[in-house]
Symmetry: C2
Subunit: 479 residues, 2 copies
Amino acid sequence: MLTNTRVDVVVVGAGLAGLVAARELRAAGATVQVLEARGRVGGRTLNHDLPNGEVVEAGGQFVGPTQKHVLALAKDLGVATFPANDAGDTVYVHGARAKRYSGDIPPDYAALPDIGVMMARLERLTRTIDLAKPWNSPNAAELDKLTTESWARKLSLGRGGVELLEALLASAYGTTAAEASALFTLWYVAGAGDEDHPGSLARLMGVAGGAQESRFVGGSQLLSLRMAEELDGAVTLNAPARRITQTPGGVTVSTDDQAWEADHVIVATPPHLVTQIDFDPLLPAQQAALFARMTFGMLMKCEAIYDRPFWRDQGLSGQGVFRGQSGPVCSMFDNSPPPGEPGVLMGFLGAREWKNWSTRPAHERRGAVLRSFAKVVGPQALEPVDYFEQDWTLEPWTRGGPTSVLAPGVLTELGRWRDVPHGSVHWAGAEHADYWNGFMDGAVRSGKDAAAAVSATTSRPTAARSTETRTEFTTGESP
Amino acid sequence: MLTNTRVDVVVVGAGLAGLVAARELRAAGATVQVLEARGRVGGRTLNHDLPNGEVVEAGGQFVGPTQKHVLALAKDLGVATFPANDAGDTVYVHGARAKRYSGDIPPDYAALPDIGVMMARLERLTRTIDLAKPWNSPNAAELDKLTTESWARKLSLGRGGVELLEALLASAYGTTAAEASALFTLWYVAGAGDEDHPGSLARLMGVAGGAQESRFVGGSQLLSLRMAEELDGAVTLNAPARRITQTPGGVTVSTDDQAWEADHVIVATPPHLVTQIDFDPLLPAQQAALFARMTFGMLMKCEAIYDRPFWRDQGLSGQGVFRGQSGPVCSMFDNSPPPGEPGVLMGFLGAREWKNWSTRPAHERRGAVLRSFAKVVGPQALEPVDYFEQDWTLEPWTRGGPTSVLAPGVLTELGRWRDVPHGSVHWAGAEHADYWNGFMDGAVRSGKDAAAAVSATTSRPTAARSTETRTEFTTGESP
């Protein structure tokens, strides 16, 4: 029943990384086949249709300066960007209190010294991080032995500083500060830039001048939809890769229905889902151990739709920052489509708030989210015309979000295995990038890198390649 | 091609836990079917035949006081125990130096104060741990935010104390101290006992009076082999469970070749491998997130065989303790079979030493291991008549060892989901026990518990059961 089809490269996963890799390889003259487990393309990007024909995103959506790879791709595909709404005051919520402010610094005067200490220390330390080899950074071993929470405590931060850090990470990681290695957090911040602009916390967390500055007209999933259209016929949906078998003659990727033969495979799935694929030969144990430990955080997006963005009339940006336990919403944005209608408010429920709320009945959660929104934009928020949620932990081919967060010890012990090809199998995905790791830009960058690596190998003589492949398996040397 | 066979209970995994569960259920009158992914039973226990007809273990092997569940099982199956060799001096290796000693305290005078402080503090704190609900222990939240390494540093331990801790955990966890939550470590020590004997570090790490006190005549795998024999015909090998589907009418477990229908399923695989099974309905996200984070440490066992245990003539026990980086061996035991011939030395390579050595060519690793052995018992160790290794990270249905080690934040955030049934799917395995978690005794206890839970449910009226099952899925309430 299985039919074997031969292509130059099989790509597993039709998210941004996989589709970019396929597109690049096809442009270079290779034949490609993309296998996607879901019934749709786009991975962690997902458009949600609004009644007026506009779209809003249920997944990754923002784009900002230095994210040149995804911006270039969008331009190439004819997808425009527009600025996320940033006009007006942000609201800082602390328990029952809510306070308007402008600028980057929340008006939490008790926590201000902490915030200052933490940001200064973070910015200083991120400049010492070796982005390509974080395990070689000064004090890497010591920093990787600490949770981000222990690291913050060492700065003698008070409760306010730590609670604000928890709120930031709940949205950014979908984890608590105790679950992330301090070295990982510093490295993650250090990657919020590009070769010419060193990473910074302000760029990572900011709207104006930061990673939340702009959005894509037509929704971020449009990038993947356009690429899939271009690759017409070369993307198979509902086809999870079950087995990847390598022989000196090539690689076979088996789905439930079919087997595909190729010279190379690019696996562009979330790293922790790689462990669901049977590899023959097995992945090196270190690499398998690393991928298993690259678990995603826990995050859901909740969005309420109103006739119009009424908060703008009141001089509010629709943005809200919630100090720990003030939610359930951890952070909040005006997510209205470019014409400004309908009005959409979007909030993240991450980490502990996700845990507390994800299993509650839907109507209770909706009520709690709307009450969070109301703290920021007033009681009108309680009466949306529509409401929807996307819990990424319930997507079997994602199982969490937004990205892989590494626990203490993992980066220094196993991190160097992240991108090492397994024979003719290469890796791509947002978690396989140094700059903008976990972001759409990181995904696009990783797809281009994987395609380039495959092209480079393909240009070598075949005989040499197969010998090399076999040698890698038998000696299995460390990277 | 698929044929559906109906039984009362399907058990996934023919390790100790799964086989015990099947055995108990069958004794209670249920029909059972055990599905095992490997071509053998026994899970992380594995006998290795010696040329003289004796056996030695390549996996879990030791048994000791308070491990009453596995001891009762052995008695029931007619498997005898014998004392592990403990006569003679142990050798403490620190770099190039090796020092004989007797008793429990290594003769590292510089590190002695540290060891004293650490042990006293550990023993005191373990008594405060709520074993069934560690997240309710005093200071649980704070302790779970710390790595075990940070916790030790807070005691102001010097380099000697921390290095010795690393050596202990390298064998006990297969991880570094930075990878394990402090709360997890305290809980793990607190479980080294039973309802009448609170857990203690001495019992966990000790030979005489401890978890390494005795061994099974015929090898620990004999327990599983005997149970499989009893279950004749009800254990199918080479049958990995791929999919578990629940309907109001029951549960279907599908392998590549066949589907089995049952009222209940007990999944008794390593928790992190549960994520490889497709569940319909999906596991609750919290439970899936927990299981994904219950990754195993990294451990291999290296054993050298000699005509006779020559070290005993010199008054040596064959036991060695290696302070950090003195190895590659982290700890070492006389592993000779009960007649005392041949002589067998066994060493663990865990965590960093595993990482440094597992990918090196086999002959280099063999040489390094034998040189470690020679530091303890002299140069005769360099000339074994045979040598073998078992790297548990390379076993596709284990992928590490000896047990699940939880990173900071996991126990308090997700730990309560460990044993929660998913509709009619129950859980068993060494990681599903509070006492002797990760040990054979924990596996046996968990198998009995799962069987009892299934029997309790089965005795309720069927109509009530299916309603309840559906309710659980729709509300998905927290445990």
